[in-house]
Symmetry: C2
């Protein structure tokens, strides 16, 4: 099963508008995730204005990167476990039920960041993803944060129809 | 102790560049937090491009709002407990050690959001803040997410000096 593109490339068009990872959101971060063996890896270079206190990366961005990379990893892991090509129907698309981030060290603003994620539990409607965020300093990677996301299959009725009706759902994107 | 401005107005200038809540970050969200009795309240109206799937707010923004509002609430609560005016020296400025968000319902994109936060534990160097995020729909508020932040006092050596030296610290902004 070859997979030359980022996980997010295979998301259905109607769920590709996410500010974090949607390829169709012109203002968003366009987070991209790829397999590297058994790990899913996302690289991202923050902008100079993504600052917390001067010199460090804003924690909300770190949370957002972990969030979107983890839901992408959940989808890709579900396809892998099912031995299906990513993007094949029916679509596996996951949303976040809970997000936890431990900030271990201040994340330096400047170097590229790398997030390595692994699905530690894969069930039909729920995938748990653990991740580590590194700052790729010239002298070597620094472990700056760890994340844990509980991702759940997106209910089919979440994409609004032409009348905008998608009420009565239980989880959030 | 009158406090006519947002908590973030009283942050020292050198810690007011945060993308989430820094008044000196020209591109940031400019999150503002105020007391309403014993609760700290933050209101925020997402932009149309802060989308997850169409019609809903991007979860990374929700995490960012909870994060910055909670560290602001931690600082304000520490000043209140010390019976000191916010902004008086020595400054109480908190950073996030851990962030947890439970996404209970999809957050509709359109209405203003309100986050109500309470410090449930206040120690000298650590404040725990719990919060609830509501979407202020015309028919009444909808509870969409809950947050829990462990905030820690920012070490004095975190603000880079003129040579950019602030190594050896243990937590992250």
């Amino acid at each position: 099963m070859s997979q030359p593109h980022a996980f997010q490339h295979y998301y259905p068009e109607d769920s590709s508008h996410c500010y974090g990872c949607g390829r169709l959101n012109p203002k968003g971060y366009h987070i991209q995730s790829f397999w590297d063996g058994d790990k899913a890896v996302c690289r991202f270079k923050p902008e100079p204005y993504h600052t917390a206190i001067p010199g460090y990366v804003y924690g909300g961005l770190i949370a957002a990167l972990i969030d979107c990379h983890s839901t992408g990893t959940a989808a890709a892991s579900a396809y892998r476990q099912a031995k299906r090509e990513m993007g094949s129907e029916p679509s596996f698309r996951f949303v976040t039920a809970s997000l936890h981030v431990d900030y271990l060290l201040p994340t330096p603003l400047g170097p590229e960041l790398s997030i390595e994620a692994t699905a530690v539990e894969i069930k039909e409607r729920k995938v748990v993803v653990e991740s580590t965020l590194f700052a790729l300093e010239p002298q070597g990677p620094i472990t700056c944060a760890r994340g844990k996301v509980v991702a759940v299959r997106m209910p089919d009725n979440w994409i609004p129809d032409s009348e905008g009706s998608n009420e009565g759902t239980k989880e959030t994107p």
